[in-house]
Symmetry: C2
């Protein structure tokens, strides 16, 4: 593996430090060039630009586009307490043992904080802090233009161009986040743990439809076998045609790295299926379409926001209050003014 | 009070029944005409059109516009368990005693269900079910185009034209909903209960800025006086200029209708201040502007969605995947195609 030489201090800065303060004076072209030679500070700075929805992002994305490599994006999700961080860490170790470069994006869709704010949650990742083949970053996505849909694919682009072969996007499976992550990933990995009533929960939450690989983690606990069995049974009932992917159920004890090799094998098998079936290309195209739409809508929202400064919107609002026009007609005029 | 004669059966249909099934064949003009003569079935049908984001809404809103009357919209919010429904019911009784017509919109921003689905929660409202001067409706807002921002003002328009003098919009104060409600209301009423650590919560959640009137409900419980005192103290610290509104703190026991008269007086005083200071007009105009923007964005989102069917978006997405263009340039082309 190549990669620029770097000190442990660099690594800490890249992962946990105030990345915004580093390299702020470098141009987008310089940053992208440095990220391509895998300089962690440049990678950190570029992801900060994504998080801050910086005006420079447009230029950055144009510079990144020709260097797209096509890392496998693995979405890892599950309820709180199933061991997502531990599983991610075990996956990183396993991929590193196979000589692959790994990126980790821990996305917290509910946090208004960015970057280092989730440090506490990531402490266990420090096993990998000195490994130059690993890049780890926590990202907040709430409140940004387009949210998860716009910022995560952009961060994925940065990590892809920075040489990651595999990128794990880890997010807590609450509400809409897990469905969003499935839309962003090539392979969606859903973690369950025994004794949490997960089988039924899974069916309820529509997880059966989004998961490509299931992991029953904490498999040394009571009930692991029955959880796996229940899950396999439910999967059997789902109708799948010939050539369709059948999600495997892998049992792991991530804290002891048990079952991780089997898990990596399952993820690799899915990557092969994605390539052979054409589904991989379909997913990437759908993801790009979502990203384009999110950026387009964010731009339109901004343009409409700019109109608040002028007289068009206030005048239209006055007319609606007076009852001389209705809000739909006013909206038409507003869009016409764009 | 005028109002079309109606049977108890009518009332039940209007409030809890499958409104969509009633009057479905009437034209928007007929429905608006009937709503103006306060026929509850027509009101129910019009609000169902709002909830379903019906294509007829545009015509309905155009028909309603000239008949805008200007009901006082009271946003009532608070944490779960503070007694919002009981307080709303007590307010309805008090307003009815003053001869005013009252509308109640119970908005559940987290529920994917509409209309009658929240029936259980509204059972205590049945005190008013046979009163023809009261219109009660539960509304779900999640998932609709524009959500709370678009659908609630439209439902308010319906109730306004249907002759309501006061409209109470009740919503649970969780997450963003209370701030959204404040943006929709003329007067925002925040309910607290003693012993819930509410004082500190209030300061945290920015409730101090959005509330026009505070209610310490369940004032017969221990800690009510200290909650009210703490709140008043915090309000004293907030800098307010001369002529600015100073939110009063009213103590109530809504379940026994204690303090409700004082509350209605406080709400009326705020209405007077709104009119005299010009703030009322400013709020209505801001609300109309938000509504126009929400409708405009929903329309643009729909247009972009239509493009998914054509070849523009898929082609652009393919180009992004291939790295021959970047998502921002693609988004520009997409918007250009609108």
């Amino acid at each position: 593996l190549s990669g620029a030489a770097r000190s442990p201090a660099d690594m800490v800065t890249a992962e946990y430090g105030p990345a915004g303060a580093v390299g702020a004076s470098r141009s987008p072209a310089e940053l992208v060039g440095a990220a391509r030679t895998r300089q962690p500070r440049a990678v950190a700075r570029l992801i900060s630009l994504v998080e801050d929805a910086s005006p420079q992002l447009r230029e950055v994305m144009a510079l990144l586009a020709p260097h797209t490599r096509g890392a496998q994006v693995i979405g890892l999700t599950g309820a709180p307490g199933v061991g997502k961080s531990t599983a991610t860490s075990a996956l990183v170790t396993a991929y590193r043992a196979r000589g692959l470069r790994v990126g980790v994006l821990a996305v917290d869709p509910s946090s208004p904080f960015s970057g280092g704010a989730l440090l506490g949650d990531r402490v266990r990742m420090q096993d990998h802090a000195l490994d130059e083949g690993v890049y780890i970053r926590s990202m907040a996505s709430r409140g940004h233009l387009g949210g998860l849909a716009a910022s995560t694919p952009q961060a994925l682009r940065v990590l892809d161009v920075a040489g990651c072969d595999v990128i794990v996007v880890e997010t807590v499976g609450v509400g809409q986040a897990e469905v969003d992550i499935a839309g962003l990933a090539d392979t969606t990995l859903v973690l369950l743990a025994p004794g949490m009533g997960d089988g039924i929960q899974a069916a309820k939450a529509g997880i059966l439809e989004i998961a490509d690989v299931f992991v029953v983690n904490k498999a040394d606990r009571e009930g692991a076998d029955s959880t796996a069995r229940e899950l396999r049974q439910m999967l059997t009932m789902a109708p799948r045609g010939p050539g369709e992917w059948r999600p495997p159920v892998v049992k792991t004890v991530a804290a002891r790295s048990e079952g991780t090799e089997e898990l990596v094998d399952a993820l690799s098998a899915h990557a092969t299926w994605l390539a052979d079936s054409g589904e991989g290309r379909r997913r990437r195209t759908a993801r790009a379409a979502d990203e384009i739409v999110a950026i387009a809508l964010a731009g339109l929202r901004e343009k409409i926001g700019d109109l608040r400064g002028g007289s068009a919107l206030p005048d239209l609002a006055e007319a609606v209050v007076a009852g001389t026009t209705d809000p739909y007609t006013a909206a038409d005029r507003l869009v016409g003014a764009l």
